[in-house]
Symmetry: C2
Amino acid sequence: MYDRDQLKEIVDKALVSYSYYSGSDKLFEPVKYAVSVGGKRLRPILTLMACNLFTDKINEAVMPAAGIEIFHNFSLVHDDIMDNASIRRNFPTVHSKYGINQAILSGDVMAFLANECFLQLPQEKVVKVVRLFNNTAIEVCQGQQMDMDFEKKDIVPEEDYIRMIRKKTAVLIAAALEIGAIIGGAEDKDSQTLYDFGINLGLAFQIQDDILDIWSDEKVFGKSQGGDIIANKKTLPIIKAFELASGNNLRLLKELYSQKNSVEEREKVETVTAILNELWIKEVTTILADSYIDNALKALKSVAVEERKKEKLLNITESLVNRNR
Amino acid sequence: MYDRDQLKEIVDKALVSYSYYSGSDKLFEPVKYAVSVGGKRLRPILTLMACNLFTDKINEAVMPAAGIEIFHNFSLVHDDIMDNASIRRNFPTVHSKYGINQAILSGDVMAFLANECFLQLPQEKVVKVVRLFNNTAIEVCQGQQMDMDFEKKDIVPEEDYIRMIRKKTAVLIAAALEIGAIIGGAEDKDSQTLYDFGINLGLAFQIQDDILDIWSDEKVFGKSQGGDIIANKKTLPIIKAFELASGNNLRLLKELYSQKNSVEEREKVETVTAILNELWIKEVTTILADSYIDNALKALKSVAVEERKKEKLLNITESLVNRNR
C-alpha cells in the first residue's frame, strides 16, 4: 500500500510531466502557476487510495488523478474571480497576478486538459469515468451557483446549505474516490459505496473548514481568522447561530450581518465569535460534522476489501476531522 | 441526403431537448439564452453533412453535433467577456444581460455539457471523438490567446494572423467535419481529408468575415460596418494594407491605428476604407480567401464517396464564399 506522502509525490510528478507543462505558451503560464501553488492534493490522493484498495498497480489511475486535481484548480481559478478573492494559499490568485481575462481563458483550457487525462484508460472504463467526471463538474458549477445566490439572501436554511456544500465540495471528493475504484477494478457496489463515503467525508470536511475559519490559529490554517464572518458568508456556524439565538444576541447578529463595513472588521469578528461561543455553536456544529464522519466510516466499513487495506483512507479521514482538536 | 434546412431543424431540436433545458436552474438560464439566440448552426450542420456522406443514418451524430454547437457558444460567451462586447447577433451578450460572474459560470458549465454529448456514441468511437474534441477545444483557447496578444502588438505578420485564425476558427470547423465522418463510419484517410477540407473552409470563412466587416451592407451582415476598424483589430485586410501602403497612406494608417478615439469613429472607418480601396485590398484579400477555397474543394474532391453525395457540402462552401459577391 502506498502512503499519503508517496501518493502526493506521484501526483505532483504527473502534474509537471503533463504535456502543457513543457510548452512556452503564454496560455499555460497561469495553468502551471495555479496547479503548482501548494495544495494538499487531497482529491487525487483519494483517487489513488481508492484504486489501491482493489489493485497494487495504480499506474492507470495516475493521469486521471491529475485530471481531477486540474479540474479542482480550474474551479478555484474561476471561483476566485467571482468571489473577488486576491489571496489563496498565501499567494496571489491567478486573476490578481495575470488579470481577469487571462484567468478566464487559462481557466477554460484547464477544463479540457482535465478531460484529456481520462482518455488513456482502457476503452471499457473511459465512458464510465468521463461521464462521472463531467456530471460531477456540472454539479460543482451548480454548487457555485447556489453559493453565489446565497450571498443575496438574508437567511439560508440549514438544509439548503448542506445541499450547496454537497454540490460545491462533496461530489468532487466522492467522484475522485469512485473514479479511483472504477479504475482499480472494483465491483459497482463497492465503487458506489466509496462515492457515498466521499460525500459524507466531503460534507464533514467543509463543515470542519467553516469551523476552522472561526476557531483556528491563523498560522496553522493559512487563512486569516474570521474571513467568512468579515465576508458575511452564511456558513453553517452562522446559520446555526441564527437558528439558536434570541433576544439581544439575535438582534446583534442581524445588525452585524445586515450592514457591511459599518463595524470595524476585528470588532465584528470578535462580537460574532463571542455570541457563537455563548451559544455553544462550535460544539453543535462539530456534532453535525461528526455525524457525517460516522456515516463515512460506516460506508468505508462495508466496502468488500480487507480492513487493513482501508487503513490509509481511515487515516486521511481522521486527519481531516482532527485538524483542530 | 438531408438538406441544410432539415439539418438545422434537427440541430435546433436536439439543443432544446437536451436535459439542462428542462430544469429551472438559474445556472442554465444563460446557457439556454446563449444557445437559442440565433446562429446559423454552421458547425453542427457540417457534422451531420459529413456523417451523411458515409451513411443515411445520421441519428448517432445528432447529440455530438449539438455538443459542438454548445462548445462554440461557450467560447462566444467567454470571448465576449474578454472582448468587452455588448452585442452579438443583434442581442445583448450573455454577460451584459446576466453579469460577468454569471457569464463565467454558465459558460463553464457549457464546457462540460458539451463533453457529455459525445458519451452516447458506441464505445469504439467515443475515445477518438472525445480526444479530437478536447484537443480542438484546447487549440481554440490557444487561438483566443493569440488574438488577445495581437491586440497589444503594433504589427502582426500575415503568417501569424493565419496561424491565429486557424486555431481560433478553422480547427473547430475541421473537427466538426471529422467527428461527423468518424461517426458515419469513414475510413481514417477520408475523415482526415474532411478535416483538411474544414481547415481550408474555416480559413476562407474567417477571411471572408474580415472582408465583410469592411465592405458589406450593414442590414445583410447584422454587424455594424467597420467594427473591426473601430476596435483597431489587425484583420487580414489591415495587415495587407500595412504591407502594401507607402508614403502618405502608410503614415495615415499608422496614425489611425496608433491612437484610439482621437478621430471620430465614422471618419476613421471612411479614411481607412478609402486607403484600402486605393490599394485594392478587397481584391488582394479575396484572392487569398479563394486560394483556401480551392484547397478545400480539392480536399473534398479526394474524399472517396460518390460526387453527388458531396453536393450539400459544395453548396455550403459556395454559399459561404459568395456572401458578398
